[in-house]
């Protein structure tokens, strides 16, 4: 669950808050949980929804304060700056934060959480074909984002 939320929001206080909220929501909806999916999948679905809400809130805040419409995080360090290049893990994390949420979500579910494309499609209520094309495009976009850090 930490992998999902931090993959979606990066290492920040909001990720911790969303993590806590995910378990609270799960606790509150225990009565409605019918066991049709595994607990892990159920938690992941809550975590993804809450993360997407948080991303929307961020975008609104950013629009309000900075009149910006792009989805890049305000506090993501410049990957071209060698002083800010830390470990590969952090660079990839930061790269993920620069992706559009719809691309980020499929990458997190498929490559970080390890769900199959079918499971990812089910969780996001999307056709499998859409998930597959988003996956391909997400990787291409991430490749471009990470190019300055890792080279061509």
């Amino acid at each position: 669950m930490a992998a999902t939320v931090i993959g979606m929001l990066g290492y920040c206080q909001e990720a911790e808050d969303v993590g806590q909220e995910t378990f609270l929501r799960f606790y509150q909806s225990l009565g409605k949980f019918r066991g049709e999916s595994s607990v892990g999948t159920y938690l992941t679905r809550i975590a993804i929804n809450l993360s997407l809400n948080e991303i929307r809130r961020r975008q609104q805040r950013r629009k309000f304060f900075f009149s910006r419409t792009d989805d890049t995080m305000e506090n993501v360090p410049d990957l071209n700056n060698p002083r800010e290049q830390k470990e590969t893990k952090q660079i990839v994390q930061q790269g993920l934060q620069k992706l559009d949420p719809k691309f980020r979500t499929v990458l997190v579910l498929r490559l970080i959480d390890g769900y199959s494309t079918e499971e990812t499609a089910q969780m996001l209520n999307l056709p499998v074909g859409t998930v597959l094309s988003r996956l391909a495009r997400a990787q291409m976009k991430l490749r471009d984002i990470l190019k300055p850090s890792f080279g061509g």
Partner: protein
Amino acid sequence: MNMNKKGKKWDEKILEFLYRSFDGDLSEKEQRLLEDALRDSEELRRERAKIVAQRQAISESAAQSFQPYFAERVMQRIDSLISKNGLEKFYETLKAAFRQFAIAGAIILIALIIYNLRIGENISSEEIFYASDTIVEEILNLPLF
């Protein structure tokens, strides 16, 4: 547009096939096109190696956990939710019980007033409440605190 070593062009479509091939959804025709392109192009094979490395890097970027004592913080929030819910339930029960008593009391009072009015001759507090005017006045004049 990219070129392979034989000068054949492999375009964005082939690159997309390459990316999609990792999730296994290519049709036979697409698979064949990709295999041909891979066989012919050294550059495309390098591209494949880079994609493998990138996918591995993404998988390895997974955070293992939240900050220390995350579970304790979650439990604290759940505990406060339980106690809040407990208190709310208590007030709800109290309210529901009070409502029943209040309604029953009001009905009894109205019934008594009607009964007393029917058997009495004058409309006075003594007739209505079976208490003298002085007692009613004293009750009404009692200081609240």
